[in-house]
C-alpha cells in the first residue's frame, strides 16, 4: 500500500538551531498516526512544513506517491491536507454553515440552502453532529471543534492534522472526538494526531512516532506492547517512572477558607459566582475544569490581585478582603502564577534578581534599603543549586532560560519562603517530563511539610495524581468537591461539563 503522505528526510533549520533533522514519516490510508514529543521537539515545525507554512531546507514530501511542493496552506488544502489548530479559527457571530463556506466558494451566487444540505449530509456521514444554522458563539468547545473538523473535511481533506485537539476538551468530549476519528478512519481519512497525553495517544493511535530534538527516534508499529512508561521514556531518552509517591497524611487545620466568593471582570460581569472552598494544612486540593471557566479570576481573587465583589477570603484565620497583595504574602501565601512570563518573572531582569522578587526588602538581603550583595549572591547560589536551575550565569536575563528552568526559578523562590498556602496554577504547563517531575516533587514536599496546596490545572491526570480532594469549576461555579477515592475520570469529567451530580454536591456541602 502506498502511503497517502510520505515525508522523506525533511530538515528545517532556524539559524543555528535544527528544528527538524532528516525526519522521515509515513501516513497510510485510514490510520491514526500519532506524533509524540516534548515541547520544542519539533512537532509544530514538522506540521507547518507539511501544511506549507514553512519551506523545508532539505527533503521531499510525497502525497499519494507523487512528489509535492507545498509552498502555502492553500496548496496543502488543494492536495487534501487539512489542519485543525489548537486555537479555533471561527467567527463567533457567523452560523456553522457560514463559517464552513467562508473563503471557499468561487461563484458569485451563494446558495446557502444547498450548502446547508451538503453540510448536514457530511455531518451525518461522519457522525459529526452539528446544526448548520446554529451561531458558533452558542456552541460548546467540543462542538466548535467539530465545526473545525467539518470545515476541513468539506474542503476535501483526506489527511487530517490535529494539533493537541484534546487540550480544551472534557474527558467525555474527548471520547466523542475519538468516536468521530474512528468513523473517519473507516472512510479512509488519515489522521496525524499530535498530543503529549500518553494515555490518549495509546487509545486512539494505530502507530506512534516519537520526535526528540528534531529527530524521529522511535516508531511504534505495534501498540499492544506499549504502555505510557515506554512512550515517556522514548520521549525523553532515558528511563522515567511515571506516577507519584504520596504518603497517607491526616490534614490539619483549615488554612484557606473561601466563602461565597464573587469576582467580576473589568466590565462588571460576574465571573466567579458564590464560590465556596476550603483547603487544610497538609492537603492538596485540585481544582479541575476546562480552561477559561473562571480559574484565573478565582486565583486572582484568592491572591488579592483582583477586587472581590462579594464573599470573603480567610487566610490562616485572617480575613483578607480589601487588603493589598503584599498582605496576602505576609499572611503566608505562596503563588506560582499561571502565566510565568507575564506574572511570574521579569524576563529582562537577571536570574539572580528574579529569585528575589518577593523577598528583596527583607533581611539579610537589604539593610536600611541597601542591597547586601554578599547575602543575595549566596542565597541565589543556594537556590540555583537546590532547584537545579541550569543557567550559564546568575547575571543572565531570565528570558534566555528554557521554560523548565524559568519555572524552577519561580517554584524555587516561592517554596523557599515556606508558604502556609501554596497556589500552584498550571504549574507544569508547557514543561518537559523532567521539569514536570521536579515541580510535582516540590508540591508533594510542601504538602508533607504541612502546607495547604490549591492546585489548579486543566490536566486531569495531574489533578488526579496529586490531589487529596478534587474541586471542579464550571462557568465560575463550584460544581462539587470529591475525595480522591471517588474522583474517577468519569465523575470529574461530568462535573467539568457542567452536569451537576447529586452525590458530589452532597459531599461539597459536608
Amino acid at each position: 500500500m502506498t502511503p497517502v503522505l510520505s515525508v522523506r528526510n525533511i530538515t528545517k533549520r532556524f539559524g543555528t538551531n535544527t528544528a527538524n533533522d532528516h525526519v522521515t514519516f509515513d501516513l497510510y490510508p485510514g490510520e491514526v498516526h500519532s506524533l509524540l514529543g516534548e515541547n520544542g521537539a519539533g512537532k509544530s515545525t514538522l506540521m507547518n512544513v507539511i501544511y506549507g507554512v514553512y519551506g523545508a531546507d532539505e527533503g521531499e514530501i510525497f502525497v499519494n506517491g507523487k512528489r509535492a511542493e507545498i509552498a502555502s496552506p492553500k496548496e496543502a488544502i488543494g492536495l487534501g491536507i487539512g489542519m485543525v489548530h489548537q486555537h479555533f479559527m471561527l467567527i463567533p457571530a457567523f452560523t456553522v454553515a457560514e463559517n464552513i463556506v467562508l473563503g471557499m466558494k468561487k461563484e458569485l451566487r451563494l446558495d446557502m440552502k444547498q450548502v446547508e444540505a451538503q453540510i448536514l449530509e457530511a455531518s451525518q456521514k461522519y457522525d459529526l453532529h452539528v446544526d448548520p444554522h446554529a451561531l458558533v458563539s452558542t456552541l460548546s468547545v467540543g462542538e466548535q471543534q467539530r465545526v473545525e473538523i467539518l470545515k476541513v473535511l468539506f474542503r476535501g481533506a483526506k489527511i487530517l492534522i490535529l494539533d493537541e485537539p484534546t487540550a480544551v476538551l472534557t474527558p467525555q468530549e474527548t471520547e466523542e472526538l475519538f468516536k468521530i476519528l474512528r468513523n473517519l478512519k473507516k472512510d479512509g481519512v488519515s489522521v496525524i494526531f499530535i498530543s503529549h497525553k500518553l494515555n490518549e495517544v495509546l487509545s486512539i493511535s494505530d502507530r506512534v512516532s516519537i520526535l526528540r530534538r528534531g529527530k524521529i527516534t522511535n516508531c511504534f508499529d505495534d501498540l499492544s506492547q506499549c504502555d505510557p512508561q515506554v512512550l515517556a521514556s522514548a520521549m525523553v531518552g532515558y528511563q522515567v517512572r511515571l506516577g507519584v509517591d504520596k504518603a497517607e497524611q491526616e490534614p490539619g487545620e483549615t488554612v484557606l477558607e473561601v466563602r461565597d466568593l464573587r469576582v467580576d471582570d473589568e466590565r462588571k460581569r460576574p465571573i466567579i459566582k458564590d464560590f465556596n472552598l476550603s483547603v487544610r494544612a497538609g492537603e492538596i486540593v485540585g481544582l479541575a475544569g476546562v480552561d477559561g471557566n473562571g480559574q484565573s479570576e478565582l486565583i486572582k481573587g484568592i491572591a488579592g490581585l483582583m477586587p472581590l465583589s462579594g464573599g470573603k477570603v480567610v487566610l490562616c484565620g485572617q480575613e483578607m478582603n480589601g487588603k493589598p497583595p503584599r498582605a496576602f504574602i505576609d499572611a503566608g501565601l505562596g503563588h506560582i502564577p499561571e502565566d510565568r512570563h507575564r506574572q511570574g518573572l521579569v524576563l529582562s531582569m537577571s536570574v539572580l534578581e528574579n529569585l528575589f522578587l518577593e523577598t528583596i526588602q527583607d533581611k539579610p538581603y537589604s539593610k536600611a534599603h541597601v542591597l547586601q550583595k554578599k547575602a543575595i549572591t549566596e542565597k541565589a547560589k543556594e537556590l540555583v543549586e537546590f532547584n537545579d536551575i541550569r543557567t550559564a550565569s546568575l547575571d543572565l536575563e531570565a528570558g534566555a532560560l528554557s521554560g523548565g528552568n524559568q519555572q524552577k526559578i519561580i517554584v524555587g523562590r516561592i517554596l523557599d519562603q515556606e508558604p502556609k498556602l501554596l497556589i500552584a496554577a498550571h504549574p507544569t504547563r508547557g514543561l518537559d517530563i523532567g521539569a514536570t517531575e521536579f515541580v510535582h516533587r516540590c508540591i508533594l514536599k510542601a504538602r508533607e511539610r504541612g502546607c495547604a496546596v490549591l492546585l489548579v490545572s486543566t490536566e486531569l491526570d495531574e489533578i488526579l495524581a496529586l490531589s487529596d480532594r478534587v474541586a471542579v469549576i464550571y462557568e465560575g461555579e463550584c460544581m462539587g468537591v470529591v475525595p480522591q477515592a471517588q474522583a474517577t475520570k468519569n465523575a470529574i469529567g461530568l462535573l467539568m461539563a457542567g452536569v451537576k451530580n447529586k452525590e458530589a454536591s452532597g459531599t461539597a456541602a459536608s
Binding site: T16, A303, L305, P324, P325, R326, F328, I329, D330, H335, P337, R342, Q343, G344, L345, V346, L347, S348, M349, S350, E353, F356, L357, E358, I360, Q361, Y365, S366, H369, V370, L371, R390, T391, A392, S393, D395, L396, E397, A400, L401, S402
Partner: protein
C-alpha cells in the same frame, strides 16, 4: 565578557556611530551650502571643549539637561511616561525665584536649600497630577502631562505679566533674587556655579538608588513587568507615583539651578524646550544615570559649541537640531533593533565561540 560591561559598551558604540552618521549628514549639508565642513566642525569642537570659558559654558548648559534627564530616565524606567518636564521646570523656576525674591534676611545656607526644595516641591506636585490621574483613573499620563505643560508655562507667563513683575522694567520679568539665594561661582568670569557639585552628587545618588537599593530594584521591576511585580507583592501604584513625583521634582530643579546659578531673575521663556530636550537626553543615555550624565554633557557641549560656530563660521545654530534629531533616532533605532556590536565584532573573529555561549545559555 561580563554582560553589564557588554551592554554599556554596546550603548557607547551606538552613540558614537550615531554621532558619526549625524556629522556625515551635516557635512554633506554644509558642502552643499558652500561651507567648509572641516573648519566648521573644528569651530564647533573648540567652542564646546577647548578653553576654560568654553568648557564651563558647556557645563552650564549641561547641568539642567542632566538633572531633568535623570528624572525622565527614572520615570521611563518605571514605566510611567512623564512628558511634562517643560511645565514642571517652569513651575520649579517660578517657586525658586519667588522664594529667592521674597524671603529676606536668611543666611545663604538656609536660603539656597529652601529655594531648591521649593522648586522640587512645585515640580513634583505638578507631576503628581498626571500620576494620580493615571493610577486612580487610568488616564494616559503622556497626554495629561504634556497638556499640563501649557498650563504651567502660561501660568508662569501670567505671573510675570502681573503680580510677579519686577519694578522699573518694560519686560515681563521678575524682580532679582536676593544675594543670599544666589549660588556662588566656581570659576570667576563664567556662569558655572556650585550647582555642578549638586548635579554630580545627584547623578551618583541616583545610580546608587537605582542599582544598590531595594527601592531601585522594585522601580526597575515595576517598569519592566508591572504585573509580575504586583503578583510578587510590590505596591506598583506607589512606585509609579514615587517615580513621576521624583521626575517632576528634578525637572523643577533643572529650572531653579538656572535661576539661582546665573540668571538670577525669571524671564518669560527663559529656557525654551529644555523640558523636551531632557527626554532626548534620557533616551540617548539609555535611561542609565551615568549614560544620562554623559548624554546631557554631550548635548550641552554641542549647544555651546554651536553658538561659537555660528559666530566664527556664520553657520546657523539650527543645524544642531538636525544633529540632535539624527543622534536620537539612530540611538533609538540601534537599541530597538537590539544590535549586539560586541557580538558582531567578536563574531567576525570567532564564530564558534558565540555558538558555544548560546549553548551554555540553554
Amino acid at each position: 565578557m561580563n554582560k553589564r560591561v557588554r551592554s554599556v559598551l554596546n550603548s557607547l558604540i551606538s552613540v558614537v556611530l550615531a554621532l558619526v552618521l549625524a556629522f556625515v549628514v551635516i557635512g554633506i549639508l554644509l558642502m552643499w551650502r558652500g561651507y567648509d565642513p572641516a573648519a566648521t566642525f573644528l569651530a564647533l569642537f573648540k567652542g564646546a571643549f577647548v578653553g576654560k570659558s568654553n568648557l564651563s559654558a558647556s557645563l552650564v548648559l549641561a547641568i539642567p539637561l542632566i538633572l531633568g534627564g535623570l528624572g525622565i530616565a527614572l520615570s521611563f524606567r518605571c514605566g510611567i511616561f512623564n512628558i511634562g518636564g517643560e511645565g514642571q521646570l517652569y513651575l520649579g523656576a517660578f517657586a525658586a525665584t519667588w522664594l529667592g525674591v521674597n524671603l529676606q534676611g536668611l543666611p545663604f545656607f538656609l536660603h539656597i536649600p529652601i529655594c531648591l526644595l521649593g522648586s522640587m516641591l512645585f515640580g513634583g506636585m505638578w507631576a503628581l497630577i498626571p500620576g494620580w490621574l493615571k493610577i486612580k483613573k487610568g488616564y494616559n499620563e503622556t497626554i495629561t502631562s504634556v497638556l499640563l505643560n501649557y498650563v504651567g508655562l502660561y501660568f508662569v507667563n501670567y505671573t510675570l505679566a502681573s503680580f510677579f513683575k519686577g519694578e522699573g522694567t518694560l519686560n515681563n520679568q521678575s524682580p532679582k533674587i536676593q544675594e543670599s539665594a544666589m549660588l556662588s561661582r566656581l570659576i570667576p568670569g563664567t556662569e558655572l556655579s556650585t550647582s555642578l557639585y549638586l548635579t554630580i552628587a545627584i547623578v551618583i545618588l541616583f545610580w546608587f538608588i537605582f542599582y544598590k537599593t531595594d527601592i531601585g530594584f522594585k522601580l526597575r521591576a515595576v517598569g519592566a513587568n508591572g504585573e509580575a511585580a504586583r503578583t510578587s507583592g510590590v505596591n506598583t501604584g506607589k512606585y509609579l507615583l514615587i517615580a513621576i513625583i521624583t521626575s517632576g521634582a528634578l525637572s523643577g530643579l533643572a529650572g531653579s539651578v538656572q535661576i539661582l546659578g546665573y540668571q538670577h531673575l525669571l524671564v518669560q521663556n527663559f529656557s525654551p524646550n529644555t523640558g523636551y530636550d531632557i527626554i532626548s537626553v534620557a533616551l540617548m543615555g539609555s535611561l542609565h544615570p551615568v549614560g544620562v550624565a554623559l548624554a546631557g554633557f554631550l548635548l550641552g557641549a554641542l549647544r555651546s559649541g554651536a553658538s561659537v560656530m555660528q559666530i566664527m563660521m556664520g553657520v546657523p545654530v539650527t543645524i544642531l537640531y538636525i544633529i540632535q534629531g539624527i543622534v536620537i533616532l539612530s540611538v533609538l533605532g540601534f537599541s530597538y533593533a537590539k544590535i549586539d556590536f560586541i557580538g558582531l565584532v567578536s563574531g567576525l573573529f570567532s564564530d564558534s565561540k558565540r555558538g558555544m555561549e548560546k549553548e551554555a545559555a540553554k
